[in-house]
C-alpha cells in the first residue's frame, strides 16, 4: 500500500515544521541588544485619538505620543502635578474663576505629512482651544466631555449650537481665550478645583487641526502629538511599536522623590535627559497564560501577576525563591480604586428599605472575597474613598462592614422580612467575564445564607452599562478607578444631580450629602475639606446606597534589567523614565 509512503511523507512534514520552529526561534536571539521596552496591554487597542481615550489601555499608549498641559511627578507620593507642556503651574484669579496658563516655547508637533513639507510646527495656545472644542463637538461623540461639562463659560452653549448645526469651530468661546500664542486663559462658570487634574488627562491633550482635517475619521490611526515617542507601526490586534521622537522638547529625570526612593535606586538617573529607551512595544495579549509565559521568557519586561499565577509566585508579599533567582523584582502598589455592590435607590424594595441593605451588607463576607478573587491583594473598603487620596482614613468605621450573619438576620427581621420571607427574587447584574460571573455567584451564596434569592444576569459590558443608564438594574457589582487623585472623583458617583444617565447609577439622592458635595467643590485641598469628606462618608454609611468591597493592590513583577520602575495607576507615561540595562539583560536572560 502507498500508505506507508504517505506516512513517511507526513513524518517529514512534521519534522520539517518543528525544525522550522527551532531555527526561527534561534535567529531572533540577537534582539537582546536592542534598547527597547517590551510592554503588554491586556485588551485590544481601539485607537490613538485622545478624545476617545476612555480605557486604561489606550491611555497607556496615548500618553507616550500626546502630552496634556500637566503631568504627575513620577516619584513623589501623594501625587503632585507639575507642568508638562505648560511652562509653569497656572495663576488663578482671586475668585478662582479665571486661570491663566503659559505654554512652553518651542514645543513642536511630531513630523507628519499633514504639515507643509512634513515638518511639525510649533504648538500654540490656539491648538488647545481647537482640541477642546473638538472634545465638546457632539458630532465626535466623545465620552470625555464630562471633564469640562458645565464648567467653562460658553462651551456648553457652543456644544448645543453645534448639535443643531448653528455654530462652527470659528466661533469664539468666552471661557477659552488665547491672547497670544503662549498664553491660554480659561474662564470658569464656578470654582472647579479639579481643573488642573483634568488638564493632566489625555482627553485634554492638544491635537493639530491640520492632521485632523487631513485624516478625518482615520485620525484615530494617525496620531500626531508632541510627546517623547511617536507611532512607528500598529499591527491591529497584535502590537503597537513606538519610536523616539527626534523633535521632542525634552525632559529631565526627577532628582527628588518619596522617602526610600534613593535606597531603591530610583534616583540614580537624577537630572539626566529623557527618554532612555529608543523604542517602546506594546503587545496586545488578552489571555493570561501567554502574557505570563512571555514574561517568564523575558519577552515582556513588566507584568501584573495574573490572579491564577499568584499563588505559585508570591507568598507573604515576598517573591518565591525560584523567581528571585531569576532576578525578578516585585512592586506592590495600593491602587486608587474601589469595587462595590450598588443598589438602585429607585427600586421600591431595595432602595426604600435601609434595614434590608444593612442586612445585606452584614451578610457580605469581604475577607473571603478578597482571598478568593484577589489572592488577598487589597484592603477591605469601608467607604468610597480609596487609600492614597485625601479623605481616606484607615481608622474610619463602617459598622455594617463586618461579616456577622446573626446581626444580619436581626436587621432582616427589622426590615420586615424575617429569614427572607416575603422578599421577591432580585436581579443582580454583572458582566459576562468568567471572574465577574464567579463573583456574582459568590454574592448569590452570601445572600442565600440570609434567605435572600438573587438571579444573576450576566451580559456584555455595553449591555450592562445600558441597563444602568436606563435605571433598569436592581443591584450590581462594579468598580471605579480614579481619573485623578481627588475624592471628588469618587463622591460624584453619589451626587444627586448626577443620577442616571449620569455617573450616579445608584440614583442616590440625599440633600445633606449634595450640599456638602457642593461646598467641598468650592474648597481647595485643606483640612476643612477633609472634614467635609468625612461627614459625607458618614452620611454614606447611614444610607448605604452601596456596599463598598475592596480597594485593590497591584502586584507588578519586572525583570532585573528594568531600572527606574515605579508604579502608579494614574501615571501612564512611565515609558520615558524607564531604563533598560542591556548588560544586565544579557546576563539574566540566560537564566530564563
Amino acid at each position: 500500500m502507498n500508505l506507508n509512503r504517505t506516512f513517511s511523507r507526513l513524518a517529514i512534514v512534521f519534522v520539517a515544521l518543528s525544525f522550522l520552529g527551532i531555527t526561527l526561534g534561534c535567529t531572533k536571539k540577537n534582539s537582546a541588544k536592542e534598547n527597547v521596552l517590551n510592554n503588554a496591554i491586556t485588551a485590544n487597542l481601539k485607537g490613538m485619538d485622545p478624545i476617545y481615550a476612555n480605557d486604561a489601555y489606550s491611555n497607556q499608549v496615548i500618553s507616550n505620543i500626546y502630552e496634556p498641559l500637566f503631568e504627575y511627578h513620577y516619584l513623589k507620593r501623594p501625587l503632585e502635578l507639575q507642568p508638562l507642556v505648560a511652562s509653569a503651574m497656572p495663576t488663578a484669579s482671586k475668585d478662582g474663576l479665571t486661570h491663566t496658563i503659559k505654554i512652553k516655547k518651542g514645543i513642536k508637533f511630531q513630523d507628519d505629512e499633514a504639515f507643509p513639507e512634513g515638518k511639525g510646527r510649533d504648538l500654540t495656545a490656539k491648538d488647545f482651544i481647537y482640541s477642546w472644542k473638538r472634545l465638546a463637538d457632539p458630532a465626535n461623540q466623545s465620552d470625555g466631555f464630562w471633564i469640562f461639562d458645565g464648567k467653562i463659560k460658553g462651551l456648553n452653549e457652543w456644544r448645543e449650537k453645534m448639535g443643531k448645526g448653528e455654530a462652527s469651530y470659528e466661533d469664539e468661546i468666552e471661557g477659552l481665550q488665547a491672547p497670544d500664542d503662549e498664553t491660554l486663559v480659561i474662564k470658569l462658570t464656578k470654582p472647579y478645583f479639579q481643573l488642573y487634574y483634568v488638564l493632566a488627562m489625555n482627553y485634554s491633550a492638544p491635537v493639530p487641526k491640520e492632521a485632523v482635517d487631513k485624516y478625518g475619521k482615520e485620525f484615530i490611526n494617525h496620531p500626531v502629538g508632541t510627546g517623547p515617542f511617536k507611532l512607528d507601526s500598529w499591527t491591529r490586534n497584535s502590537k503597537v511599536v513606538l519610536v523616539k521622537n527626534p523633535t521632542w522638547h525634552g525632559g529631565k529625570y526627577p532628582s527628588e522623590g518619596e522617602e526610600g526612593d534613593d535606597a531603591r535606586g530610583l534616583l540614580k538617573d537624577a537630572g539626566k535627559d529623557l527618554p532612555f529607551v529608543d523604542k517602546v512595544v506594546y503587545s496586545e495579549i488578552i489571555e493570561d497564560q501567554p502574557r505570563w509565559l512571555n514574561f517568564m521568557k523575558g519577552k515582556l519586561d513588566i507584568v501584573i501577576i495574573p490572579k491564577d499565577n499568584f499563588d505559585t509566585s508570591v507568598s507573604g508579599d515576598k517573591l518565591s525563591k525560584d523567581l528571585t533567582d531569576k532576578g525578578l523584582k516585585l512592586e506592590i502598589n495600593e491602587e486608587p480604586d474601589v469595587t462595590y455592590m450598588a443598589f438602585n435607590m429607585l427600586d421600591p424594595i431595595l432602595g426604600k428599605n435601609l434595614e434590608l441593605r444593612r442586612a445585606i451588607s452584614l451578610a457580605t463576607d469581604t475577607n473571603t472575597l478578597l482571598e478568593r478573587f484577589y489572592n488577598g491583594r487589597g484592603v477591605n473598603a469601608l467607604s468610597p474613598i480609596p487609600p492614597g487620596i485625601d479623605g481616606y482614613d484607615k481608622d474610619f468605621k463602617n459598622p455594617y462592614k463586618e461579616f456577622n450573619i446573626e446581626k444580619a438576620k436581626e436587621h432582616l427581621k427589622k426590615a420586615g422580612y424575617p429569614d427572607g420571607k416575603g422578599l421577591p427574587e432580585f436581579e443582580y447584574s454583572t458582566t459576562n467575564s468568567t471572574t465577574a460571573r464567579q463573583m456574582a455567584e459568590y454574592t448569590q451564596q452570601n445572600l442565600a445564607a440570609l434567605g435572600i434569592k438573587i438571579r444573576i444576569a450576566a451580559t456584555s459590558w455595553p449591555q450592562f452599562t445600558d441597563k444602568l443608564r436606563e435605571k433598569k438594574a436592581q443591584m450590581w457589582g462594579i468598580a471605579w478607578s480614579a481619573d485623578y487623585p481627588d475624592a471628588e472623583n469618587f463622591l460624584q458617583l453619589l451626587y444627586g444631580k448626577n443620577v442616571s444617565p449620569g455617573p450616579n447609577s445608584a440614583n442616590y439622592v440625599n440633600k445633606k450629602f449634595d450640599e456638602l458635595y457642593e461646598k467641598a467643590l468650592k474648597l481647595p485641598p485643606s483640612p476643612e475639606r477633609t472634614v467635609i469628606y468625612k461627614q459625607m462618608k458618614e452620611i454614606f454609611v447611614q444610607d448605604l446606597p452601596w456596599i463598598p468591597n475592596i480597594h485593590r493592590k497591584a502586584y507588578v513583577l519586572y525583570h532585573g534589567w528594568i531600572e527606574n520602575y515605579k508604579r502608579h495607576a494614574i501615571i501612564n507615561g512611565e515609558a520615558k523614565y524607564i531604563r533598560v540595562n542591556l548588560n544586565q539583560k544579557a546576563k539574566l536572560a540566560e537564566k530564563l
Binding site: W292, D308, D311, T430, N432, T434, Q444, I456, A458
Partner: protein, 291 residues
C-alpha cells in the same frame, strides 16, 4: 392496505430491535443513555448528589480525594456533584433543543415533501437561506439578540438547527408519496393530515430518530461553545459548558479536575449516543438489511 403497511412498519422495527439487541456495543450504549437520563431525573428531584450547591469556603480548589472524587471548585463545592447535576442542563438542552428542531424540521419537511409545488418552493427557499448562514454564527447571533439563559439556549438551538431534519424528511416524503400504500390510502379517501401523520410519518421515524440523536449531540456541544462566549445558562446553574469555560483560568493554577469531570461526563454521553446512533442506522438501513 393500511394494515399491510403497518405490519411492514412493525416488522422493520422488530427486525431493527432484534439486530440492535444482538449488538453488544449498542446495548451497552443504550443502557448508558438510560443511566444518564436516570441520573438527571434523580438530580432534578434532588435525591442524589445533593451537595452540588453546598458551599464550603474553607476548602476551595481541593485536589481529588476520597471525600471529593473529583476535588472541589472555587467555592469548595463538590465537583463530581456539580458535573452530575450538569447532566440535567445538558439533557434539557439536548432534548428540548434537538426536540424543537426535529419538530420544526419534520413538520416543514413533511409539508414540503407531501404537497410539493409552491409550498415546497417556499419552504425550500426558507431552509436553503438558513442553511447558507453558517450554523454557529446564526446561533451566536440569535442568542446574542435575545439575551442569555437556559430558555434562550434551547430556543436558539431549536430554531437554528432544524434545516438538516427538514431536508431529510422532505426527501423521504417525496420518495414515499409515490409509493403504493399512500396512493392506496388516497383512493380510500384518507385526509391529507391522516396520510401525512398516520401513513407516511411512521415510515420515516427511524430516520428522524437518527437525525434527532445527531442533533442531540450537537446541541450539547453548542452549549459549551455558547457558555464560552458568555451566552450560556444562568450563572450558578451547574453546567458542563460553564465548567469547561471556567477551566480557562483554573488550568493555569493547576486545577484540572473541573475540566476533567465535565469532559468525562460529556464524553460518555456523546460516545453512547454516537455508537447507539451508528447501530440504529445499520439496523434500519435497507441496504444493509440483508447483510
Amino acid at each position: 392496505m393500511t394494515s399491510a403497511q403497518n405490519t411492514q412498519g412493525r416488522s422493520l422495527w422488530a427486525d431493527a430491535i432484534r439486530k440492535i439487541k444482538k449488538n453488544r456495543i449498542a446495548v451497552v450504549s443504550f443502557w448508558i443513555i438510560i443511566a444518564y437520563i436516570g441520573l438527571a431525573a434523580l438530580c432534578a428531584m434532588d435525591l442524589v448528589f445533593t451537595s452540588y450547591s453546598l458551599v464550603d469556603n474553607t476548602i476551595p480548589y481541593q485536589a481529588p480525594s476520597s471525600a471529593h472524587w473529583f476535588g472541589t471548585d472555587l467555592f469548595g463545592r463538590d465537583v463530581l456533584a456539580r458535573a452530575a447535576h450538569g447532566t440535567v442542563t445538558s439533557l434539557i438542552v439536548g432534548f428540548v433543543g434537538a426536540g424543537l428542531s426535529v419538530l420544526i424540521g419534520t413538520l416543514l419537511g413533511a409539508l414540503a415533501g407531501y404537497f410539493g409545488g409552491l409550498v415546497d418552493e417556499l419552504i425550500t427557499w426558507f431552509y436553503s437561506t438558513l442553511d447558507n448562514i453558517p450554523y454557529i454564527l446564526l446561533l451566536v447571533a440569535f442568542s446574542f439578540v435575545s439575551g442569555p439563559g437556559l430558555k434562550t439556549l434551547c430556543l436558539a438551538i431549536g430554531l437554528t438547527s432544524w434545516v438538516g431534519h427538514c431536508r431529510l424528511v422532505r426527501s423521504e416524503f417525496i420518495k414515499q408519496r409515490g409509493q403504493e400504500y399512500v396512493q392506496g390510502a388516497f383512493s380510500m379517501g384518507a385526509s391529507h393530515a391522516r396520510r401525512i401523520f398516520v401513513h407516511i410519518l411512521p415510515n420515516t421515524l427511524h430516520l428522524i430518530l437518527i437525525s434527532f440523536s445527531l442533533g442531540f449531540v450537537s446541541a450539547i456541544k453548542s452549549e459549551v461553545i455558547l457558555s464560552y462566549l458568555g451566552l450560556g445558562v444562568e450563572p450558578g446553574t451547574p453546567s458542563w459548558g460553564m465548567m469547561i469555560s471556567d477551566a480557562k483560568l483554573e488550568l493555569s493554577r493547576g486545577v484540572w479536575w473541573g475540566l476533567a469531570a465535565a469532559t468525562v461526563f460529556m464524553f460518555f454521553l456523546v460516545l453512547a449516543f454516537t455508537l447507539f446512533n451508528d447501530a440504529v442506522r445499520d439496523a434500519t438501513d435497507p441496504k444493509l438489511r440483508d447483510k
